[in-house]
Symmetry: C2
């Protein structure tokens, strides 16, 4: 592949114009939007307006006058079309961890004859921790975590399993699980499924309703670009909403939050899954970031995501000097999310050297170098340049310099 | 009392210079800082810097380089001296509702021979809802809520009670409970106490350590001025930290959050009470707001808070036309927080008319008009002017005009 071919890909890219909607630092190739999305320009002005005008000038009145009170619903409804959900099923609130606790409790209560939560050994740790926390609270007779390898999920579905908890795209390898197939197989065994969309919402064309999904959680600060620690979201299929009671029964989930009743009566819709008061500034940032998505076709996002990663692999494979970078992600793009993982003994040092050279990737212990591809603001030229720099870092052995080999914090 | 006396009070006020640190809208007298604090000027620049520089330019690297990862601890340690807590006991995270769930579970597990959570009928609803949510999850044999009137707390302390859940300052009446006495009485009966400081942190001189408090939660967006829906905080006395496991076991509470272990091992310090990733923008706003407090003596805050409310009452009582505004707060300032409540048949309409005239108070169903006094930015002249306008609204019967009598939303 030569540079002319790369330029042709950018020229033909239907999403190329989206890049202008982001503030990206000069001299940086950002391949870590799977960890923290870049800053949409519209967020800057929105946050300034919320702080100075809505809060500073209008003060308490903004709860009504600027509809702060409806933010969780409004933001949820903006996320819904990106993950294939019809109205009334998605709401923005809390963190993924806290939302998982709500959904795990809900799903277990719907399947109370069983106690097993099945998940994968390589699931994102906080997901497993939340099951362990619930298990510790309820006791193993009511909630028991069982872990299996990703390839053993199907054969582990049986009538002891209450809830299957899966992350659609593996945070390390980028392995994409088959939501439609696994949900169907689980349902056949009477199992409810919770999908974690942390690495898929905004990256691939998620189809929750079409897959008859039960529950899902997802992240605002990765591909959705809502800012560091942006509020998360959750999805509960309409058919389950009136049948569950989630335990974090805060005032915002009350059927009549302003009646100030002493007795909790959860809303019979998605609002029940709200708990305490959310940060208006943080949620407004995500709200503004979501405007960037309004004219975006998720099928085009998926198409470009695959093309970016395929080009990256192709360019890498053309360089014999990169032979020690072992691809841990599948080459089958239909089974991959929007990131690539490579194992290398010196992954940490290579990552640090790349960052110094302006290519931001990330490292995951013990030896993984991760590159994320965010179709809204990553170009094929970025991929070309990143590989050029990676080749240089490896061929010149720049990464062997002592400053890159410090034991660093991992983010 | 005449205006000269008012002016003299402002002149002698040691906190008078703090007002310049806030952005307050012109032509507004803001007496609702007990609901949403005003905007500290420093927050505007900090939020802009976090969004544009830390996030926009420095991207993922800011987790280390701008110490995002330590924000919950750093902010907690800034709050600690305002509530009489030594280091290592306060952390900033989640909402009050979610934090109450963590502490209720923790306190019940320490007192597992008992199942009763005792609280007051007039406690803030979300506090009661969280107990109900936990009770629904665990079953009444493990968690059962009992409510009594505020005046019956003492006589209700017995060896069936596991946890006493109290809000130090009543959200409606401003009634201040005696933290020292009630904590001591509770401990004598083997009861653990959770204090909700929503209406006291930043308003009165809270002394958690001195009162041998066990647990507390509090709010960032009222007197601490962290912005709408600002993250909350929690306090766990050192002596309890290694003996409890809170159930919302997210990755940030892990002893080694970056080890990515599949098994949760909670930190043996206050960090265990963290759960998921917090909003960096929202928590940075609170962090900046807390800088305003660094040279503030809480004893002076308490003194001025009492003086402001006393002057308000005195001025009101000098006007016979205000006889129908019945004070529901105690006149004994030692038993009062930093707000006053008045009952009036037309409280809603009076509140609306006041707001139109630039005096922002708030309404609490069914018939309460609430005035909050925030010593950092409220002057005695504000109080004088507010009463003047209130007198005018009542004497001219302005509030009887139809536009003020719409059934409005309550915030």
């Amino acid at each position: 592949m030569n540079f002319n071919e790369i330029a042709a890909l950018d020229k033909a890219d239907p999403l190329a114009n989206k890049r202008d909607e982001f503030d990206l630092p000069a001299d940086t190739i950002y391949l870590d939007g799977n960890s923290l999305g870049a800053l949409p320009k519209t967020v800057k002005s929105r946050v300034a307006e919320v702080v100075s005008q809505q809060w500073g000038c209008h003060l308490i009145r903004s709860w009504n006058d600027h509809q702060w009170i409806d933010l969780p619903t409004r933001v949820g409804e903006k996320i819904a079309p990106l993950i294939g959900a019809a109205k009334g099923q998605v709401i923005c609130c809390d963190s993924i961890s806290v939302n998982l606790f709500k959904l795990l409790s809900s799903a277990l209560s719907l399947n109370s004859q069983r106690n097993m939560v099945l998940s994968t050994e390589d699931n994102f740790p906080t997901d497993l921790y939340m099951v362990q926390g619930l298990s510790n609270l309820l006791g193993p007779e009511l909630c028991q975590l069982t872990l299996v390898a990703e390839q053993d999920i199907e054969q582990s579905l049986n009538d002891k399993v209450a809830v299957l908890l899966l992350t659609q795209v593996n945070f390390r390898t980028g392995q994409l699980l088959d939501m439609q197939k696994l949900t169907k197989l689980a349902h056949e065994k009477g199992i409810l499924v919770i999908w974690d969309l942390a690495h898929s919402a905004g990256a691939i064309d998620v189809e929750l309703d079409k897959c008859h999904a039960d529950f899902a959680v997802g992240c605002g600060y990765k591909y959705l670009n809502g800012g560091p620690g942006s509020p998360a979201f959750l999805y509960v299929a309409k058919r389950h909403q009136a049948n569950v009671k989630q335990p974090l029964a805060g005032w915002m989930g009350h059927a009549k939050p302003f009646a100030f009743d002493a007795t909790y009566q959860g809303a019979d819709n998605i609002n029940q899954f709200l708990s305490g008061t959310p940060s208006v500034i943080a949620m407004s940032a995500l709200d503004a970031a979501l405007d960037t998505w309004q004219d975006v076709d998720m099928a085009k996002v998926r198409e470009k995501s695959i093309a970016l990663a395929d080009v990256f692999i192709k360019l890498l494979q053309a360089h014999p000097s990169l032979i020690d970078l072992r691809l841990c992600s599948t080459e089958d793009s239909s089974q991959r999310g929007s990131q690539l993982a490579f194992a290398h003994t010196d992954a940490f040092a290579i990552c640090q050297a790349l960052i110094e050279r302006g290519v931001i990737a990330d490292f995951r212990a013990p030896n993984i170098l991760r590159f994320g591809f965010t179709p809204l603001y990553t170009s094929f030229e970025d991929v070309w340049n990143a590989v050029t720099i990676l080749v240089d870092v490896v061929e010149t052995q720049l990464y062997k310099e002592s400053r890159f080999n410090l034991a660093g914090k991992v983010t």
